[in-house]
């Protein structure tokens, strides 16, 4: 069981490291904006977090696609 927990953590922080770090940064920005912006910020922090996460997912997957395309190209050569 500990091996599975370990592999999940490794997968989360190393395999998908960029995505995990990006998500943590998005969460930190959201927290900072909610605390600094006062009551008005509470109306939009959720939508802001959603937008940041969606952008993060698309950028991360685009990079994954570019890496995969490079591998296919080098394998075919």
């Amino acid at each position: 069981m500990f091996r599975t927990i370990w592999s999940t953590l490794v997968g989360l922080l190393i395999e998908d490291g960029q995505l995990a770090i990006g998500a943590l940064i998005a969460l930190a920005i959201t927290w900072a904006v909610a605390n600094a912006g006062g009551g008005a910020a509470h109306d939009f922090v959720g939508w802001m977090l959603l937008a940041m996460v969606l952008a993060l997912v698309l950028v991360n997957l685009y990079r994954a696609g570019v890496t995969a395309r490079a591998r296919v190209s080098s394998a075919r050569r």
Partner: protein, 255 residues
């Protein structure tokens, strides 16, 4: 409990738990078919009892002792981190970059491994017991996490999430017992796609609520967030398919 609350909290718990139960059922079936049913049934019961003890102590303590907003914040962050991992893998699977999860293949691999272990007819089959115990405990722990995560609001949400998970368990176990073969007809890859989107959506929802946000329509905004995640994922699949050369199937984990 009103039907809308039940649907919003029980449906994601049902779908996510069903995926975990299918994976556990595949292993238990493989043990039962190769080594007899006594040991895996004992293993499954022992794992269920262990899980019940873990949930009754740790789970209930977390939900009742930790302040609601702190719990929502921590659970929201964890849900988002795990959900993004699921969603990323699901998109990569559908784009053909990572191999599709194949329950039949996992079942056959497990059969071969168990047959290779050998079996002494007169002794209790500890290998079968431990394999089933481990599988049910591991997948069950994930189900427990899912229930706590989707029921983080406490009260009716926790009850609804528990009802969803139990219904998934009953459904999948009944299906497995009736068919006695891997549940390949369950569209696991599609379910994982949906579960990834739901985990991310609940993560965003809880985390923002923990910071003091009131969502328009409260929990009714969750389906809207889920649809947004699904739409972005569909866009990502199309983008990746367009990026890769025709017919390219890349099986690489670290992309």
């Amino acid at each position: 409990m009103d039907p809308v609350t039940l649907a919003i909290h029980a449906t994601p718990a049902f779908v996510a738990s069903a995926v975990e139960f299918v994976e556990a059922t595949t292993i238990v079936l493989a043990v039962g078919v190769t080594r007899g049913w006594r040991a895996p049934i004992f293993g499954t019961v022992a794992a269920t009892v262990t899980l019940a003890i873990i949930i009754a102590t740790l789970g209930v303590a977390i939900v009742t002792i930790v302040p609601e907003l702190l719990l929502k914040g921590v659970v929201g962050a964890l849900l988002l981190l795990f959900g993004l991992r699921w969603l990323r893998k699901a998109v990569l699977r559908f784009a053909g970059i990572v191999a599709i999860h194949d329950e039949e293949l996992i079942y056959l691999r497990e059969l071969a491994e168990l047959r290779a272990q050998g079996l002494r007819r007169k002794e209790f089959d500890w290998i079968g017991f431990l394999v089933a115990y481990k599988a049910v405990l591991l997948e069950g722990t994930e189900v427990a996490f899912i229930v706590i995560a989707f029921g983080a609001a406490g009260g009716t949400a926790l009850t609804a999430a528990t009802v969803g998970a139990i219904a998934a368990g009953v459904f999948v176990i009944a299906l497995g017992a009736a068919l006695r073969q891997p549940l390949t007809m369950v569209p696991e890859n599609w379910l994982k796609f949906g579960v990834g989107a739901m985990l991310c959506s609940f993560g965003v929802f809880w985390f923002a609520e923990a910071l003091g946000m009131t969502w328009p329509g409260d929990a009714l905004s969750i389906p809207l967030i889920v649809v947004t995640f699904l739409a972005a994922s569909w866009l990502a699949v199309r983008m990746l398919r367009a990026l890769l050369p025709e017919g390219a199937q890349v099986e690489a984990r670290r992309v």
